[in-house]
Each structure stands twice: as C-alpha cells, then as structure tokens.
C-alpha cells in the first residue's frame, strides 16, 4: 500500500489533561495522492487539525500522546523517524500554511529574508535563494516583487500575507502542502482569489494539497475528495460531489442541511413609519473618513443586514449608533429624537431600547460573573423593569426563551460552548426588553450548525417579540436567509440597498455582483459553474 504519497493509518491521539484524557482523534484513516486535493471538513473540536499536526510533528508530547497508528510518507513511517530526519522532511517535502498569516510571519524581518531563510536552512545559497524568492512572489501575485522582498509583513494586506505564506511554503517545491483554514480570516473576494491561486499552483506543480476547513463552500470550490470528521472520528469520506449529493452519515446530512443560503428569502415587511432613521451619518478619525454619509431606515419588526468586507465601515456604523463612538456628523432619529445629541441622562434611558450582541461571546461576557449575575445586571442598572423578587424567575424564563435550562444560571460563561455563550449574550440583551438589537457579526465565530440554530432563535424572537434587528455580517448566505433588507457597504459608503430578493437575484452595482460571485456555495456543481463564470469575467 505504498502507492499513496501520504497516508494516515489508524491514527489515535490522546491529550492528557487535568480533567482526564481527551481522545482528540480515534482511529483515523485517510490518504493523499500526488496532484490531488483532499479536504478535511469538521466543526471546531472535531479533531480535524490534529492529524495534520501529527504529520508536522507539532503535537506537544506530553500532554499529547500518539497512542496508535502510522503516518506513511512515500512509504516511510514518519512517527518512527528521528527528529533530525523529520526536520529534513518538514518544510522541504511537506509544507504548511496557517489561518492567521500575521502571527506566523516574524514582524522584525523583511518578508524576502524570511522566505529565503526557509531555503537557506535546507542548503541553498543566499544569492540563489534571493532570485527564487523574487520569482515566487511574482508567481503568487505580489505586485512589484523586486521591491516587495524588502518590505516588512505589516506593509501587506491580509490577503497578500497569505500569498506570502504560500510563497514561503512553496519555496522548496514540496510534495505535499497542508493548508489549515487558509482563508477563514479573509474577506470573501480575497478568499476566492487565494483558493484560485492554491488550485493553480497545485495543478502546476502536481503536489498533493490537503485543506482543513469548516466551510462546505471551500470544499465545493477546491476539493476532489473530502473527509468529514466529527468528535475525533471520520464519519464519511468520498468524492466531494458524491458526499454532498448523497450524504450517508446523519452527521454529514445535518451539516449540509445547516449550510446557510438555502432557505426561503423574506419578502420584506410593510412600509410605514420607520422606527429608526439614519441620515447622512459620518465619522472621521483624524483625516480618515470611516463613514461617509450613511443613510437608511429601520422599520418596526424588520431585519436590516449590513454587509461589506473588512474596512467597509459596517462595525463603525454600529458603534456610532450605540454611541460607543461619537459621530462626526449626521443624525439618527429614534422616536422623534436624535440619538447623537442626547444628554447622558436621556442616553441612559435610550440604552434600554437599543441593545447589542457582539461577535465573540467569550469576550463580551465578563468571565467572573455567573449567568445569573450577567443577566440580572441589566435590572440593577435599569431598576423598574423587573421587581427584585422576580429576578430569579425572570432569568429562568429568559434562559428558556433562548433554549438554555434554568439551572444554567448558576454557571459561569467558560462552562458553556460558543453557541451557548452567544445565547446567554442574547438573553442578556433581551433582559432590557429592547426595541432594536444590533448584532455585530453575532454568528461569524460560530460553527455552521450552531449558526443555523442561533439564526433560528433570532428569527423566532423577532416573531414573538417584534424586535427589529440590525444584522452586521460579512457572510452573504447567512444574510440571505435572515434579512428583510440588505445594505451593501464599501469604503465607508453605502453602495447599494434594497430588499433581500432584489440584492440576491438582481444586484445592480458591480461591487454587489462581485461579492455575490465570490461567495461560496456548498454545492460543488453550482460552485463549478460560478467558477467558470468568474474565469470568463476575468478574461
């Protein structure tokens, strides 16, 4: 069975923690051939990265322990090799790129030097390495490669940094490239470019490409074969389109069903008097204009989604609206009053009506407060909403409303999973019985299946309580399922706004069209069509 380039056989890894052993992966088998793209798909905690870490000798032992299995590379078992031998393989024959390129590039060296260094370590002369580096940078699409080798990592954008990482990984012409969530931190349009680049390079060099991801869209875009992992075990493996169309395991079915962008689109809410209307809002930091004349209305019981890439000003809009930052100009009329000119006293009253749910619940919940303290704090700050004697009962009610159990109120945030924490954050926002909830990337940090649950929860709350949402997101499929109206932002300006149907089915502006074209569909066939169309457009 030495035919495969890289093969993992019966691999089991256990981590010994203070709470007892954790079986990170159990009895995992997969293989990768030359010229093939394999994707390992799984949610957080599924153990999808563990086998790659074992290949690269990145598992710390202890606390980790490889309890069984073999990793065959070109017919030789990596696990029985000496450290010295493995160093010759790492980087040279098996290279890896990571999710966050900024933390993997050393900020005090020029990027040219760092890429050369990989080659120099493995015995190339400095001069030769410099020449190869310039060629590589050109190949991965860095503008002006001769000058770029002298620049430092912070002078590049996120997408360019990932290109640099790819250049570094390819420096020694590896046989296998492992990409661990290579595009998760990037904007959709950049993600599409990076995936296209990886595919092109893979075809050109004939290496084996292993992509670890949580995103069905990424699998659909690049993978030939896919391995689906859940709770440390492989539940399904096969051709990417076969797995998508005929999933055999219930977990895979659940995962595919949870992928956003498949539901009915909303047909909008009735026109009437707006609950909140922003007019010409602007925000300047020094000479930099973060927001330029943003205007939109929010109807009662409506969900307005604000989409855009990083730096588009969507989060700034939320901050300005909630007075976490002061607006430089414009107005936001709510119940006949301008939110931007409220006195501290009036602002305090207004806080009751407009609440926010943040992106990362791990950070937005104070780790030292119990769930009960977190939720009931709202009533300490705003006395008169709930009588003190009813606090406990009301917290229990709110927890049930968001799908948690009443006894959870005595626990602390760290004892919950990411999705449950976001539910707590939502319960906290609901405690004040607000009219408007601003969700700033509220589901971006969550796994797909959890994401679907939280969206369903928000949807239900809207039906039951008539709350209006301002839903800030970079992920278009999620917006498609949930929003009534969509606002597309770019560079601090609204480029297009309209009903969700109009935006998704007949986008007018080229930027909106580009955004939609770049977003990934979980269906490999649809994705192949899109790719073809994109290539056509490029030529």
């Amino acid at each position: 069975m030495a035919d495969h380039l890289l093969e993992v056989r019966n691999l089991s890894v256990t981590f010994h923690t203070a709470r007892g052993p954790v079986h990170a992966v159990r009895d995992v088998n997969w293989h990768l051939d030359r010229g093939e793209v394999l994707a390992i798909l799984g949610e957080s905690g599924s153990g999808k990265s563990v086998s790659a870490s074992a290949i690269m000798d990145l598992i710390d032992c202890p606390p980790g322990e490889i309890t069984s299995g073999r990793i065959l590379f070109d017919g030789r078992d990596l696990l029985t090799m000496s450290r010295e031998e493995r160093r010759h393989i790492n980087g040279k024959r098996i290279a890896m790129i990571f999710q966050d390129p900024l933390s993997h590039l050393n900020p005090v060296y020029t990027v040219g030097w760092q890429i050369e260094e990989t080659m120099v370590i493995h015995g190339t002369s400095r001069q030769e390495a410099r020449q190869t580096t310039v060629d590589l940078l050109r190949k991965v699409g860095i503008p002006d490669p001769e000058a770029s080798v002298h620049k430092y990592p912070h002078q590049f954008s996120g997408g360019q940094r990932q290109r640099l990482m790819i250049a570094m990984a390819l420096a020694l012409r590896p046989d296998v490239l492992i990409a661990d969530e290579p595009t998760t931190a990037l904007d959709v349009t950049v993600q599409a470019q990076i995936l296209a680049l990886l595919e092109e390079l893979q075809r050109e060099t004939g290496m084996g490409l292993l992509i670890i991801t949580h995103d069905l869209g990424v699998v659909a875009e690049v993978a030939d074969r896919v391995v689906v992992m859940n709770a440390g075990e492989i539940v399904e493996a096969g051709e990417a389109s076969e797995v998508y169309h005929n999933p055999k395991h219930p977990y895979t079915r659940k995962l595919i069903a949870a992928a956003p962008g498949q539901g009915e689109m909303s047909s909008g809410v009735e026109e009437g008097a707006p609950l909140l209307s922003l007019r010409n809002v602007s925000k300047r930091y020094g000479t930099f204009e973060a927001l330029k004349g943003v205007s939109f209305d929010l109807m009662p019981g409506e969900t307005v989604a604000v989409v855009g890439e990083s730096g588009s000003g969507k989060s700034t809009t939320a901050k300005v609206l909630l007075r976490l930052e002061e607006a430089s100009g414009g107005s936001a009329i709510y119940k006949g009053r301008d939110l931007f000119t409220l006195s501290p006293r009036e602002l305090y009253e207004m806080r009751r009506d407009i609440q926010m749910v943040f992106q990362d619940p791990t950070q937005s919940l104070n780790p030292r407060m119990s769930v009960y303290a977190l939720i009931s704090e709202a009533w300490v700050i705003h006395p008169g909403i709930v009588e003190r004697s009813r606090w406990r009962a009301r917290v229990a009610e709110l927890l049930e409303q968001v799908g948690l159990l009443p006894e959870h109120m005595y626990r602390y945030p760290h004892q919950f999973s990411g999705g449950q924490r976001q539910r707590i954050a939502i319960a906290r926002a609901l405690a004040l019985e607000p009219q408007i909830i601003v969700c700033d990337e509220a589901v971006s940090a969550l796994d797909v299946s959890i994401q679907a649950q939280v969206i369903a929860l928000l949807d239900r709350l809207q039906d039951e309580l008539g709350i209006s949402f301002i839903f800030i997101a970079h992920d278009l499929p999620v917006v498609r399922d949930f929003a009534d109206r969509v606002i597309v932002m770019q560079g601090g300006r609204i480029v297009e706004q309209g009903d969700v149907r109009q935006i998704f089915e007949a986008p007018r502006e080229p930027y909106t069209q580009a955004l939609l074209a770049a977003s990934l569909d979980p269906d490999p066939e649809i994705q192949a069509e899109r790719r073809a169309r994109r290539l056509e457009a490029a030529e």
Binding site: A18, R19, G45, L322, L324, L347, Y348, R351, R352, Q355, M356, F358, Q359, D360, Q363, S364, L365, N366, P367, R368, S370, E377, A378, V380, I381, H382, Y410, R411, Y412, H414, Q415, F416, S417, Q420, A425, R428, L432
Partner: protein, 306 residues
C-alpha cells in the same frame, strides 16, 4: 460541549463552608493560613502576655544557645546579646512588624490602585498628570526620601508607614493603569456600556475584579520588601527605636554576632521568611479560588483528598 465541572451549591452550603472546603483542597495554602493565624494572634496578644519578659534582661543568659531548656521554655530559641529570651521577643515584635508591613502595603495598594484606576479611565488631564507623579516618586531614591522625612519627623511606627507607603505607590499605580488601559477596550466593558452602566459600575463591578488578583499578588511580594526596607531603616537608626522591636531590627541587631551566635539573626529572619512565604502561598490560592475559570482545579483536588 458543556464542561462537567462539579458546581458548588454555594447557596445551600454557605460561603464560609465553601471557602473552607476550597482551602482544604490546597494543603500548602492551609498550612500558610495556619501560620498566618498564629502570627496575627502573636501580634494581637503577644505584647499583652510576654511584653514584660521580652524586655527583661538576664545578663547570665547573654547569647544563650537555642534548644536549651535549663533557663525555662522562653529560652528555647536562645537569648539575645542582653540575655532577653528570643522567643518572647519574636512574639512581641510581631505586632510592630505586622503593623508596619500591613499598614504600608494596604495604604500604598489603596492609594496606588485608586490613582491607577483614575489615570487609566480618564482620557483628560488626570490621565497624563498621575503617571508623571509616579515617575517623580520613582526617580527619587526611596531610601533617601525615607532618611530625609524621618530625620525631620519623629521616627514612629506611623511615620514609617507613611514613608514606606509613598515609596511603594508607583508599583501599584503603574500596574493598575496598564491593566485598565487593556481592559477598557475589552468587549464586556463595551457590553456594559451598551447596557447603560455608569462609569462607577463599570470600574468597580467589571474592571476591579479582573485586576484585583494581580494587585494582591504584588502586595504579598511587597510585604516582604517592606519588612526588609523597615529593617534597613532601623539599621540606619532612623527606623524603629529600641526598646521598640521589629523582626527587621532584630535581624540587624544580631548581625555583629553572626559568627558567634547565629541564632540572634536566624530566628527573626525565619519569622520574616515564613510570614511572607505564607502570604504568597495564600495569595496564590486566592487567585485560583476567586477565578471561576480556575476554581475547578481546587474542586477536583478537594474531591480526591476528601
């Protein structure tokens, strides 16, 4: 994936019982707590019972060696250069030592912490002036400051506390300010703001609990520093004046006899080490016990031992 940490039913068992069971889970912390209780008891009741014996000179017992019970149990640790029983003196000295160290540390922690909170939260002038104040204090040699102040004022316990407290303020001020600047940008502070929480509430309910463990850890380390600083002031003759005694003074008084009668300095020195070490262990335990994310370590240990 809810972690299955056993949850203490804090309400049914009561806070005291919970604290006790958490303390029992860490044997070192328990020992430290016992030692500190003894020290505190000595400080409170020592002078009352042993005050007389501690200053009673017995020239036949000069530099009496330890572990000799012929002169009575008070001489079990030996006698000093004037024949006074060391054990009694250590017990009596605990009062002054603890008063100075606790007073100075608490005062500098409170003042430094408060100023740090103000400096960290103020975006106006106070935020600029207060850190400079710390720089001014730090740029002035602390011992020199102490010498000048104590030369002008009368060297009493109160004045020593004031001088030592002032020189230690910058440590707390800078730490608090630095931590506040970081915490201020954290999401949960923003979340509290969105909820309409007042500045006061944000500072005391959300920020302070996060930085308090750091401050307490520094304070316990400072405890040892202050004890030694007090002894060096005493050595210069501007600290505590005999016949008042402190552990630090006893160590420095015993120094000339170190080659002939090591026990003169050794026992009070041991007392200093035990007290500071215990405080350190206890503060370490407290940091874990107060942190909901760390508490399970003690709870797991407790189950195993219980």
């Amino acid at each position: 994936m809810v972690q299955t940490t056993p949850l203490r039913e804090a309400r049914s068992k009561g806070r005291l019982a919970t604290t006790w069971s958490l303390l029992c889970a860490d044997k070192f912390a328990l020992a430290a707590a016992i030692i500190l209780t003894i020290v505190v008891l000595c400080a409170v009741f020592g002078p009352m019972f042993l005050g007389e014996q501690a200053s009673h000179q017995n020239l036949r017992g000069r530099n009496a060696p330890p572990f000799d019970l012929a002169k009575g149990w008070l001489y079990v640790l030996g006698g000093d250069q004037l024949g006074r029983p060391l054990l009694a003196r250590i017990v009596v000295a605990a009062q002054n030592t603890m008063a100075i160290a606790t007073g100075a540390v608490l005062a500098s922690m409170t003042i430094g912490g408060t100023l740090g909170l103000i400096a960290g939260n103020s975006r106006g002038r106070a935020g600029q002036i207060i850190p400079r104040l710390a720089d001014v204090i730090m740029s002035f040699p602390s011992l020199l400051l102490a010498v000048i102040v104590l030369y002008m004022l009368e060297p009493s316990v109160k004045n020593i506390i004031i001088v030592l407290a002032i020189t230690r303020i910058p440590v707390y001020l800078r730490t608090t300010r630095a931590e506040i600047l970081e915490i201020r940008e954290r999401m949960f502070v923003q979340a509290a703001k969105v909820m309409g929480a007042s500045e006061f509430r944000i500072v005391f309910r959300h920020m302070l609990p996060v930085i308090l463990p750091t401050l307490i850890t520094i304070a316990t380390l400072d405890f040892a520093f202050v004890m030694l600083a007090e002894s060096s002031l005493s050595f210069l003759g501007i600290g505590i004046q005999p016949p008042e005694i402190t552990w630090g003074l006893m160590v420095s008084q015993g120094r000339p006899y170190l080659t002939t009668a090591w026990w003169l300095s050794f026992w009070p020195g041991l007392a200093i080490i035990l007290a500071t070490l215990s405080l350190n262990l206890l503060s370490n335990w407290m940091r874990v016990a107060l942190d909901p994310q760390q508490r399970w370590r003690l709870e797991i240990g407790g189950r195993k031992n219980g």
